[in-house]
């Protein structure tokens, strides 16, 4: 994709205004997206994005330039633009970088270019039929399929010269149930960092369809969730979004390195209940959030974040490492060449604990069992978060009495972590797209079933008899 001599010249050009680090990121990304509505393919699109970015650092200052052209001349111009941001080109850097060429890549049994749209459509139809089959109250089923193959080459003055091939694919099934002018939706969207073989034994499309269908129908018959400050049991899988938003983002160097996090200066200190341990693990094979190498060329790793309630580590990229005086953690990620990389999560989850899944509901008295969380967001400087609960059940006297809709959980991440009083024995994850400074990247969230002794539950404030 790029000659070594070109890379040398571009890196030298990028350092002419005094940068002490320069990096080239080349990307060629192909993707197919298909949408099916009511069992019929509605649209199909193929996209190929291709370009390069040059980043320079001088101390903790950074500049980034990118271009949708990867020819040598364009690369040199991009390097000059990045250098110009740091000041005048008055230095004449010399010396060749000694590169250590490395090839990475996820092994694929069925690469996306070996299958046709017919294979993709057959898979989607299976999911659509399974969803529709759940109930006559379902008025609409939509299925979206995407596969992406991203090929990157990362070259830096640290001697990195690495090529990586990153496949991922996801199917998203949404079902809508309507009755008497009311509409409720259910969805399920499993995904993997693998080729099309993901649908053989990792992803059960029919099961995903049924999950979506059941959720829509259950919520159609659910009353509004009561409001109040009460115990909440949050299931595993996408329930992990609570940790991702309320804690994970505040452990990223983008927040910590600029003193914008409630967890600044808290290493070695108790920030969570004893039963809470958490990691960010980019090395899990084939997972949606996994990476072979990060976008600065560092291999992914398993980073311990919290151990028995004590803060053990942050998620740090190169720039964050300079700001914080701590080593990078293989956490530098970006959506693509149009973004400079920064510290991000991969597969982030609360580790398995020893509490019984049934007991934590049976002993909670009155409260909410949040089976499926929706998304949420957090303001890192204050730690305040909000999440929606897409499938919830009301619990009275330790027994589930009714499904409930429309619940929102709000609070502060640092406070919730201390209020976790049960952690179940079985952890599972769910995929999502996480948006931040360096764009949208695939991440897994996860946890076992947990209980929080009290969270503010908002909503329209229904009453459950």
């Amino acid at each position: 994709m790029i000659k070594e001599s070109t890379a040398q010249a571009v890196l030298l050009e990028a350092q002419k205004s005094g940068a002490d680090y320069a990096e080239i990121f080349l990307e060629d990304k192909e993707s197919t997206q298909i949408e099916m509505l009511d069992g019929k393919v509605e649209s199909a699109n193929y996209t190929r994005s291709c370009g390069a970015g040059v980043r320079v650092l001088r101390g903790t200052q950074s500049a980034y330039a990118y271009c949708a052209d990867i020819g040598e001349q364009a690369l040199m111009e991009t390097a000059r633009a990045a250098a110009a941001a740091l000041g005048e080109a008055k230095y004449s850097p010399s010396g060749e970088v000694t590169f250590a060429a490395k090839r990475y890549g996820t092994k694929m049994e069925r690469p996306f270019d070996s299958i046709g749209n017919a294979d993709r459509v057959a898979l989607m139809r299976e999911g659509a039929l399974a969803a529709k089959g759940v109930s006559g109250e379902l008025t609409q089923v939509m299925v979206r399929y995407i596969d992406v193959l991203q090929r990157v080459t990362i070259i830096s003055t640290d001697g990195v010269f690495s090529f990586d091939e990153r496949p991922r694919t996801r199917i998203f099934i949404q079902a809508i149930a309507m009755k008497d002018g009311e509409a409720q939706t259910g969805y399920h969207g499993p995904g993997c960092g693998l080729g099309f073989e993901a649908y053989k034994d990792r992803i059960d499309v029919a099961q995903a369809g049924r999950t979506a269908g059941n959720m829509a129908v259950t919520m159609l018959h659910a009353p509004e969730c009561p409001a109040g400050f009460l115990p909440v049991v949050i299931d595993g899988g996408f329930g992990g979004v609570i940790f991702h938003e309320a804690c994970g983002h505040s452990l990223e160097a983008t927040a910590v390195g600029r003193d914008n996090s409630v967890f600044c200066g808290k290493l070695g200190m108790k920030i969570a209940a004893d039963c809470v341990s958490a990691v960010d693990d980019g090395t899990l094979p084939g997972e949606w959030g996994s990476i072979n190498i990060d976008d600065e060329g560092m291999p992914g790793q398993r980073n311990l974040l919290i151990e028995n309630g004590v803060l053990k580590g942050y998620l740090i990229d190169k720039l964050g490492s300079r700001r914080m005086g701590m080593p990078a953690t293989g956490s530098s990620r970006r959506q693509g060449y149009t973004f400079a990389p920064t510290s991000r999560m991969t597969n982030t989850f609360i580790c398995e604990g020893g509490d019984d899944e049934e007991e934590m509901i049976a002993s909670m008295g009155e409260g909410l069992y949040a089976k499926k969380m929706g998304g949420g967001s957090v303001n890192p400087p204050t730690g305040e978060f909000n999440f929606s609960v897409n499938e919830g059940y009301w619990v009275k006297n330790g027994k589930i009495v009714s499904p409930v809709r429309g619940a929102t959980l709000i609070g502060k991440g640092s406070e919730i972590l201390k209020k976790i009083d049960r952690v179940g024995p079985r952890m599972w994850m769910a995929p999502g797209m996480c948006g931040s400074l360096s764009g949208s990247v695939p991440t897994n969230v996860g946890q076992p079933r947990i209980r929080v002794s009290g969270i503010t539950i908002g909503g329209k404030g229904g009453a459950i008899e």
């Binding site: 393919v41 649209s43 193929y46 996209t47 903790t60 609409q140 999440f387 929102t408 908002g458």
Partner: protein
Amino acid sequence: MTNTDFFKKASEYARKAGCDGCETFFAAGESFEVNANAGEIDRYSVSRDAGVSVRISFGGRQGYAYTERIDEPEKLVDRAIDNAKCIESDDPHPMQKKCAYQTIAPGKSALADKDEQARISLARRMEQAAMEADERVQRVVYCSVICEAGRVAIRNTNGLLAERSSDLSLIFVMPSVKDGEEVQTGIAFRMGADAADAEGCAREAVQDALDKLGGTPVASGTYRVLFKPFAFCDLMTAFAPMFSADEAQRGRSLLAGKEGQRIASEIVTLTDDPFDPVAPRAFDGEGTPCAPKSVIENGVLKTLLHNLKTAAKAGVKSTGNGSRRSAASTVGVAPAVFRIEPGGIPFDGMVKRLGNGLIVTELEGLHAGVDAVSGDFSLKAAGFLVENGVVVRPVSGVTAAGNFIELMKNVSALGSDLQYALPQNGYYAAPSVLVEKLTIAGN
């Protein structure tokens, strides 16, 4: 390869391959972004990009393909044909016929003619102004100056040629303030002709943060609520898909078939105005000429938003709302500039009219806590408690929940303070809006 050449080669190849139509959507642009932190420039990005999307019609079915390697039109057309072959929907999607456009004066862009140094010093000045605005300012979380220039050209085998260019100037700043142990952040932005107002923007952001200090929840209950313009714009952004004929035809909008019916309070008029000076345009994402139109007039739904495909299906004319989120996207539907027409009451008067209730200044969780299919929302909210027409104290840690359709029916007054929100797949503008009842969950 120039985009004219690309179109010629692609359409010629498509014709030989048996296609009955071919369109290229070419987009190119430059962008500049700089972020100041503690007097230094800590993030800086410049770019040049270009891409082309090909849409072909094959046996009446359409396929898309997009690339940023503008050198192999034939390969791209092959991909698009491959995609067209798997389409099963029978709905036709005509391409725009050759047409003439109104001449539109471009929007004002205060930073378009400023050089890099001027833009960098603007970012530094804005940060400094924020730091100096109040002694409780701790630091500036974000302080960005963004300039973008874009060009679009649509060509098709009907003889269409639609070309335009656009400029965006935007500055925004987010300071954090600390009082005792409490930290709050505020945000403000300026765009277009106002984008050089660093000081005003900084002061507004700091005030926004200071106003939130000491906020506490209110008791749960039903409240009269006065939405500030940006909070209401957020709701409009989230629920804009309800007005899309595409969503309606897919059975995903409660407004399907409601044209001609009362769907909002009779004081509500919602205009989609592609000629609004904030972002004027003569044609939409598929080259259809645009014109201003009432979407809701005195509470009555006049039309949904159409592109050529939804219009053909409904047997109406496109409303010029064909949208491409990006050059790589397929054609969808989105508003141009969605504007709730302001009333005659200044904000102070609106607070008096509220009497007892809540002012909602901010809503959070919009990408999760709203359901555009059901119209339901449940969002974290912040603002002020008002008693007897006087602001009593800040409020935080509550959620506001309701249904957008119900909310629109319960609008009882509109302010004169029209404001434009940051664009998100279209522009949104609203004045402050008084709503008779909304469920607030607090303590």
